[in-house]
Point group: C2
Chain length 255, copies 2
């Protein structure tokens, strides 16, 4: 076995459209890619199945799945007993009425952040990526956050990413031992979903193996009504392509 001379990158891989596009981008930049996925008590395992398809089809150099239980803290429709909001106002934000929370979180002011927000999720994910980077000897971390379609998540903003990178460079061995500086790559941060899809298709991404839906059927079919489906279908429509994944119903969002 010959050792690759490529630089190594850890890439947060959900198996969604964005992170899968990141794989193609990182590869086009010459990185060996070490995927990191999370089994974080989400309602479904569809994401992890999609991540496994991406690892196999795109031939990643390494892949680990970290099991962490974010349900411990509750507080999100993606991990706790809160209904995933259906429908969307079209203003880039799940409406407050649709995002009304149920159960123990009822009455908590959700402000302009949707109930699908998981507390500190990207902070936790990046922290594991930092550990994986340190162990594999990678100095580069890719995360497919997006500031345009970010749905109001605070931890998808450029200034958050910059602050994380500054912290990361003080957190690790390299900070003391003078190794390579950690760089957090967010290649999608200023792109529309349509831009991402157009670039991904140009790089040969097979979007049929990805999943984005917050509330898929047991067979993996996307609901077509949640915030993630709305953004994905809108992106494909604007990019002039039809989404190759199966939907229960595409509403008025498809081509």
């Amino acid at each position: 076995m010959t050792m690759s001379k490529n630089k190594k990158a850890v890439l947060l891989l959900s198996g969604g459209l964005d992170s899968t596009t990141c794989v193609a981008i990182a590869r086009s930049q010459g990185f060996d890619i070490y995927g990191l996925s999370f089994d974080y008590g989400q309602r479904h395992m569809i994401e992890l199945q999609a991540a496994a398809r991406v690892v196999a089809q795109m031939g990643l150099n390494g892949h680990v799945t970290a099991k962490i239980d974010l349900r411990l803290f509750g507080g999100s429709a993606l991990t706790a007993d809160i209904a995933v909001p259906k429908g969307r106002g079209g203003d880039g934000m799940a409406s407050k009425a649709q995002g009304k929370v149920q159960g123990k979180d009822q009455g908590k002011v959700q402000g302009e952040i949707p109930v699908t927000y998981v507390p500190a999720r990207n902070t936790i994910f990046l922290s594991f990526a930092l550990a994986y980077a340190e162990v594999t000897g990678a100095s580069d971390i890719f995360i497919g956050v997006n500031a345009l379609d970010f749905s109001g998540y605070p931890d998808c903003r450029p200034d958050y990413i910059a602050a994380y990178q500054a912290m990361a460079n003080l957190a690790t061995r390299s900070g003391i031992e003078g190794g390579g500086q950690i760089k957090i790559h967010t290649p999608l941060i200023d792109m529309t979903k349509a831009d991402i899809i157009t670039l991904g298709l140009a790089l040969g991404v097979d979007y049929s193996i990805t999943t984005s839906c917050y509330d898929p059927a047991e067979n993996g079919d996307a609901c077509g009504q949640c915030d993630a489906c709305y953004l994905r279908l809108k992106g494909f429509r604007e990019a002039g392509h039809s989404d190759p994944v199966a939907y229960i119903a595409r509403g008025n969002n498809d081509l």
Copy 2:
């Protein structure tokens, strides 16, 4: 049940001497305390048993244990198949010879950071604390890091903590919604172990319920020879007290 008017703080609770002293300090400052412990694939459950004793005896307002598997990444004597170094050069650093790694990590340059360092551990722990703080409505996080006895861990330094706090204030709802600013308290950061013990005893801490050893016997007795035992026994000696916990052997470090 009346609601407490106290401010809430999340406190990283290992059941060790430092974090238990932090409980007493946070309480003396009027905080309601929500303890956060980790089941992180460490070799022993002795720490979690000590944390449970602290929660019960000191009456914390909440406590959760997050299960995360840092063994996934390897790279540390505390989580992977690497021998815990015994003995200590007395220079604040486990010697490289004693810290020689075994197995798959053999040959990796460990530099001036001991093999007991867990990659990105405090970064991961603080990220979970941030999630717990957001869910409980706490703006304050206590972590018992120490820059004097820090044994070369990069993520125990004041500039790291400051950078983490800056990042945390961009990561959460409060960053968008104008809630309370996150403050990370490190009351022990400039204290010697003897200072910590002296303060803790003044605040009524019962150190017999705590544990510090990296490599305890099955019955919980401390080894008396690892880096953590060395620092703890030295601290008690300098504070003029005898450590109330049981040791297999205290070597020359006890009173």
